[in-house]
Symmetry: C2
Subunit: 360 residues, 2 copies
C-alpha cells in the first residue's frame, strides 16, 4: 500500500517515519519548502522516544499532485484550519478509490472536506474519513528529529458517510491497526478531546507562556486543580451536545483510560497519572494551534451545534470569547458552524441520516 502524508509538522513527520518503518512507501508533502528541505535531500526522519531510529520516506515534495499520485491512503496531518485549503488543492488530482483520513478532523472536519470536494465537482470514488485525535503525542525536539512521547492505545476513526467504514478496514487499518472504526463522524467530531484540553489550558496559562516562552510542562504544571475544574465543565458541555446528537459521549477522563490506560478519581488526577504527558512542554507562544486551531475548529462548532439543539455551553463560549479578545480575531466568525458546514436548520434525524448514509 502506498501512502501520502500531507503536512510535515511534528505530527506529519512522525507519522511518515512511523509508516516507513512499517514498510510502506510514503510520500511526504508540505506547503512550504523550508520545513522539509532537508528531508527532500536526505529522505530521512529520525524518531526518538517510543519509536527510535532513522527512517526513509519514498520522497518529500511541495507538489501536492505528485505527493498523492497513485497513493491508496492519504493521511492529512495539518491543523484543521488548513483542511479547506488541502481539500481545494487535492480536488483536481484525486483518483478513484483513494481514501483521505483527517488526522484529526477536529469537529466537523470530514463534513467540511466532503463539502469542498462536492463544491469542486469531484466525481471520483473517494472516501473521506476523520480521526478523533492524532495517534501520537509528539513534538519536534531538534530539526529533523521528532520525539514520540506516546503512541495512543487506540484512536477512533469514521468515514463520512459511515456506510463506507468498511473501506477503512482494507486500507487505514491495514497500515495502522491502532485505529478503531466507530459508528460515525459525530463520534469522532464530538469526542474531541483537544477541544477540552488545549484552549482552556493555554488561556489559563497565557501570562506564564508569554513571560517564560512556555518553559513549563503543559499538562503536568499547566493543569492545576482549578484549571482541571474548567476542563471538566467544558467536557460536560461537550458531552451534552454529543448526547443531543444521539451518540454516547466518552468523558475526557474515560478517554485518558481508553487512550493511555490511566485512571484517577477526577480529571486532574487522571491527567497527572499519565506518564505519556511527562516532558511535554507548553508552546513558546499563545499564537499556537492550541488556540488558532482548537478554538475555531473545535469549540466554535461544538457551541454552534449546541445552540441549534438548545444546549447551553457557557463555559465553552467564555473560552471562545477570551481567546478572540487575546488573539484579536473573532473566532465566532472564523470558526466552523452549522451554517458553514451546511447543516443549519437540520434536525437530529436529518444530521444522523447524513453522517450514516450520506443523504441530505
Amino acid at each position: 500500500m502506498k501512502i501520502a502524508v500531507l503536512g510535515a509538522g511534528n505530527g506529519g513527520q512522525a507519522l511518515a517515519a512511523y509508516l516507513s518503518m512499517k514498510g510502506f512507501s510514503v510520500s511526504l508533502y508540505n506547503r512550504s519548502k523550508k520545513r522539509i528541505s532537508n528531508i527532500i535531500k536526505t529522505r530521512t526522519i529520525r524518531l526518538e522516544g517510543e519509536v527510535q531510529g532513522a527512517f526513509e520516506v519514498d520522497f518529500a515534495t511541495t507538489d501536492i499532485s505528485e505527493a498523492i499520485k497513485g497513493r491508496h491512503l492519504i493521511m492529512v496531518v495539518v491543523p484543521a484550519f488548513a483542511h479547506i485549503d488541502i481539500a481545494k488543492k487535492v480536488a483536481p488530482h484525486l483518483e478513484d478509490g483513494q481514501v483521505i483520513v483527517l488526522n484529526p478532523g477536529r469537529t466537523g472536519g470530514a463534513i467540511e472536506f466532503h463539502n469542498i470536494l462536492r463544491e469542486y465537482g469531484v466525481d471520483k470514488d473517494i472516501t473521506v474519513a476523520e480521526a478523533q485525535t492524532f495517534m501520537f503525542a509528539s513534538r519536534l525536539t531538534n530539526p529533523g528529529v521528532v520525539r514520540i512521547f506516546k503512541i495512543k492505545n487506540a484512536v477512533p476513526v469514521s468515514a463520512l458517510p459511515a456506510k463506507k467504514n468498511s473501506v477503512l478496514e482494507d486500507t487505514l487499518l491495514k497500515a495502522m491497526p491502532e485505529f478503531e472504526i466507530v459508528s460515525n463522524v459525530i463520534y469522532t467530531s464530538f469526542n474531541n478531546i483537544g477541544a477540552v484540553f488545549h484552549p482552556a489550558v493555554l488561556l489559563l496559562n497565557a501570562a506564564r507562556i508569554e513571560s517564560s516562552a512556555g518553559k513549563f510542562e503543559f499538562y503536568l504544571e499547566g493543569i492545576t486543580p482549578s484549571v482541571a475544574r474548567v476542563l471538566e465543565k467544558i467536557d460536560s458541555e461537550r458531552c451534552m451536545v454529543m448526547e443531543a446528537l444521539g451518540e454516547e459521549p466518552m468523558t475526557a477522563k474515560d478517554w485518558l483510560n481508553y487512550a493511555y490506560d490511566v485512571q484517577g478519581e477526577n480529571l486532574y488526577e487522571a491527567i497527572h497519572n499519565n506518564p505519556g504527558y511527562q516532558g511535554i512542554m507548553a508552546p513558546p507562544s499563545i499564537a499556537n494551534r492550541y488556540i488558532l486551531e482548537d478554538v475555531p475548529m473545535s469549540l466554535v462548532p461544538i457551541s454552534s451545534f449546541g445552540k441549534m439543539l438548545g444546549i447551553e455551553t457557557p463555559t465553552i463560549d467564555s473560552i471562545v470569547q477570551i481567546a478572540s479578545v487575546m488573539m484579536n480575531k473573532d473566532f465566532w466568525i472564523r470558526g466552523r458552524t452549522v451554517e458553514t458546514l451546511g447543516l443549519s436548520g437540520k434536525n437530529v434525524d436529518e444530521i444522523r441520516r447524513y453522517v450514516l448514509e450520506g443523504i441530505m
Copy 2:
C-alpha cells in the same frame, strides 16, 4: 476628629497606622480576634515602604459598637462581600452625624449599604460614601508589618446621595486630603479599576498561582500583552456601561496616569511603567478576594447594569463564568445586581435622581 477603621487586613492596618501617624485618634475593629490580638496588646502597627515607622492606634477591638462609639468618621476596609454584614452590625449603634466611607465600595457598595441601614430602620443622620479604590497599594509583609508600596495621588469618593458630598469635605478630606470628591457614586462604582485589573489577571495566571503559590510579580509578570488585551476589552465594556449611565468614564490607562502619574502607549505599557507595582507579588491561592470580591461585587453588577441598559459585556461575562466554574460558586447568583440593589426596572433618569438627590 475621631476615626474608626473597620477591618484589619493589610489595608485596614495600613490605614489605621497612617491616620494615627497623622495625629488622629483611631480605633481598629476586626471580626476575628486572631488577626488583631497582638495589636490589642501593643496598639502598635509598623509600616514600611512609602511610610515608615511604628504607629499607635487608640485601641483595637472585636466589639464593633465600642469601635464606632463617638467616632466622627467610620472607614470600612473590608472586602465588599462583607459590606452587608458590617452594615447590619453597625446599624443599631450608629450616632447622628457619623460619616461612613467604604474603602472601596466596588460597584454598588454605597447603594447596598444604604439599603441595609434603611431596612434596619436607622433614622439617624448618617452619611454613607464610597471610594473608587483603596488609597494604598499595600501588602502584609510580616505579622504586624504592612508595606505601603504606593500612596495613590488621588482617590475619587462620593456620598450617596451626592447632595451630601459637602459633609465629606468637613470630615474625610480633613483626615485625608488625597480624596477627591466626584459627581456621584456612579463615578466611584463604575470607574472600578479592581474590576478590570484583578479577576482576569488572576484567572489568566491561575495555574501559575496554584503551582507556584503565587511566586511571581502580579502586575509585572502576570500582565503580558495578551492578558493586557483582555483587560482593555473588559475596561471598554465597563466604560460603555458607565456612559450609558450618563457619566464620563475614565479608562484604566488614564486612571494609571491619574493615580500613579504613569503613561504608556497602551494599557500593557502603562502598567509596566508603574514603579508602584514593583514587588507586588501574586496571591498564594486563587481563593482570593481578587476573585471572591471582585467577581461578585464588581463584574457581576457591571454586567447586570449593562443588561438592563442594553449594553453587551461578553468579556466580563466570560470572566464571571470561568471564575464561577473554577471556584465552584455561582457568582451570578451571589453577586450584586440591579435586582439585589433595588434598582431593577429603573431607567437612567431614575437612577441618576437616586444617586444625586436620594429620591427613589
